[in-house]
């Protein structure tokens, strides 16, 4: 975060500062432009807060999320139970806090796997070209032909219903999107002077791929990751809602919401609050992603020199 507050003028001048090539002038410009994007900042702050809640869940949650009858069943919000209790007298707030942990962790695993897979596939396709490109990208087209949630659902039937398979299914669903973004980046890099230079100076193709092509797609990768994180949380929650993801009694927002449906009239809070939680996180990731995209778009970046 420290880079965001640095004076903008210095951003362009010292390209190879203490942070080396990782934070080049362009990246600093992006960070400073992001710092001026109010929505992006609000999104980022919310995400940081949610991650904090997820990590510190055992400290923050007032009750054990699994313990039954910590209060009366189906009790409305009160000072003892801020968001009420569910049909087994479990504290809804504590379950939401722990649900953040499970949902975020799985969504992050999913997006992490798909970004690594997609980056390798996309970079290889764009860099090598020819039949490797054709084969890899047609494979991605096949995955893309399925509506994402439906592909994830169908994969659960094949591999069995549990939370890790759900994360894997979501990872597969998002891989083509990463692959496409990284491929087009790799394609444009192929003609760059520094790649040609690396070639003529005897760098092997694999070395160039991992040392130059992939690191140069990092900013595209980051934007795609935030945007996909929002969708991954939605799909993950959808799977949980359908009973195909995180299995009870482990708390998950989607399943809590589904479970509360039978008590909608007596205890609407059971279904309402987990939905609010999903919306806040997804909204934050979306706004942050928008901010990042604006910051990365050269047309929108004000070049302050």
């Amino acid at each position: 975060m420290a880079q965001q507050t640095q004076p903008v003028e210095s951003a362009d001048t010292d390209d190879e500062s203490a942070l080396g090539g990782v934070l080049s002038g362009r990246h600093r410009r992006i960070l400073s432009s992001l710092a001026r994007h109010r929505g992006g900042l609000v999104g980022a702050a919310t995400l940081v807060a949610v991650v904090f809640v997820a990590v510190a869940a055992p400290v923050i949650a007032p009750y054990d999320p699994l313990e039954q009858f910590v209060g009366p069943a189906l009790a409305g919000p009160s000072t003892a139970h801020l968001l009420g209790t569910d049909m087994y007298g479990r504290d809804v707030l504590s379950r939401i806090v722990f649900g953040a942990r499970n949902t975020l962790l799985l969504a992050l695993i999913a997006v992490g796997i798909s970004s690594v897979l997609g980056t390798i596939i996309g970079a290889a396709a764009g860099f090598y070209g020819g039949w490797i490109d054709e084969a890899l990208m047609r494979g991605m087209d096949v995955v893309f032909a399925f509506p994402s949630l439906i592909l994830a659902i169908v994969m659960m039937a094949t591999f069995g219903i549990n939370m890790y398979n759900a994360a894997f299914a979501v990872a597969v669903v998002f891989t083509p999107q990463f692959a496409r973004v990284i491929r087009s980046n790799a394609l444009s890099l192929r003609e760059e002077e520094f790649i040609k230079a690396a070639r003529t100076s005897g760098g092997t193709r694999r070395y160039i791929l991992f040392k130059h092509v992939i690191p140069n797609g990092i900013s595209e990768l980051i934007v795609q990751t935030t945007i996909n994180l929002a969708s991954a949380i939605l799909i993950m929650s959808g799977l949980n809602f359908l009973g195909l993801g995180i299995q009870p009694p482990k708390p998950s927002w989607g399943y809590m919401l589904a479970n509360g449906r039978s008590y909608l009239l007596q205890a609407p809070w059971i279904s309402t609050f987990p939905g609010v939680a999903i919306m806040i996180v997804v909204l934050a990731a979306n706004i942050f992603g928008d901010g990042l995209r604006d910051a990365l778009d050269p047309r929108n970046t004000e070049r302050v020199r």
């Binding site: 094949t158 069995g160 809602f241 359908l242 449906r261």
Partner: protein, 316 residues
């Protein structure tokens, strides 16, 4: 290159995708852990003889490539196998239920267009005004709202508190009014979930056009603002909007699965979920095959329409 040749080329490009997708769906059964014959039978106990029969009927004794071709051949002839969980032919169940999902998806789509396109246009024309900000925020919230939660909230408000609409079911045999009465809440839930996307993309498509030089020229010539928007901008923004509407098909189908579950509607989506929970492979495979086929051909249709409206890209 004429339109016919373009369509032909697009069709040829689809071949590897279709082969890949069908192969993937076919392999589902064989990638799953366990004996395919027992998997097809689901949770039912079976004698050795039944298993042998199943192997015969589903060609499981043949080599894998032959099984795939036979399965595809049967599917092309409308035979998607038999569900042992539901004790019915898969095709029959799909034929029976698809009108329900179609009605739901279509009405959701109509709602999204009726609300989303005008909102997107207004938001673009009034860029950086209060109207624009409010629309953008509402749209962004809409994108972020899970469709199943929205459905539950609609039920809570309009069925339980106000009592205006039924909370579940679908009056398949009812009167038109009856059916609309049941369809309203699910269609709104499904529609709103994609309206947000329509708004955002219409807005950006309109903004792209409104910033072009020829719009500036038209303005400086004194063409009225109304004429500029309806006569120039909207016509050119229509293409990107069309592509988006095509893309939304996948979202609509996925959204139907969740919406049908929330509202207890017996369409294709609910069938899929029940089949997955029971590991009923023939049903899951059949449904997925139908869904992917619809997706692939609708995308082709959108592509062709796109070229038809805009002849410039035909040569790409």
């Amino acid at each position: 290159m004429g339109l016919a040749r373009y369509v032909l080329r697009r069709l040829l490009l689809l071949v590897p995708v279709v082969i890949g997708a069908t192969l993937l769906i076919f392999l589902m059964l064989h990638l799953a852990p366990g004996d395919p014959a027992r998997l097809i039978l689901g949770q039912r106990r079976a004698s050795e003889e039944t298993i042998r029969n199943i192997r015969q009927i589903f060609h499981l004794n043949e080599p894998l490539w032959k099984q795939y071709l036979l399965w595809l051949w049967d599917a092309l002839h409308g035979d998607l196998g038999r569900s042992f969980t539901f004790r019915r032919p898969v095709t029959e169940m799909i034929v029976e239920r698809y009108p329900i999902t179609l009605q739901l998806a279509l009405s959701g789509w109509l709602i999204s267009m009726a609300v989303g396109i005008p909102a997107g246009i207004v938001s673009a024309v009034k860029q950086y005004t209060k109207v624009d900000y409010v629309t953008t925020i509402v749209a962004l919230s809409g994108v972020s709202m899970p469709v199943f939660w929205q459905g539950i909230m609609l039920i809570l408000l309009f069925s339980y508190f106000l009592g205006w609409f039924p909370s579940s079911g679908f009056a398949v045999d009812g009167t038109v009014f009856d059916r609309l009465h049941h369809l309203t809440l699910p269609a709104i839930a499904l529609g709103t979930s994609i309206t947000a996307l329509t708004v955002r993309l219409t807005r950006s498509a309109m903004l792209d056009v409104l910033n072009q030089d020829y719009i500036r020229t038209a303005r400086s010539k004194g063409v009225s603002e109304r004429e500029i928007i309806t006569g120039h901008a909207l016509q050119n923004a229509f293409l990107p909007i069309l592509t988006v509407l095509g893309m939304q098909l996948g979202l609509l189908l996925a959204g139907s699965v969740l919406t049908e579950t929330v509202f207890g509607i017996g369409g294709l989506g609910r069938l899929l979920i029940r089949a997955v929970h029971k590991f009923d492979y023939p049903t899951v495979q059949g449904l997925t095959l139908v869904i992917v086929t619809v997706m692939v051909f609708m995308n082709l249709l959108v592509d062709v329409l796109y070229t038809f409206i805009n002849p410039k890209i035909r040569y790409d």
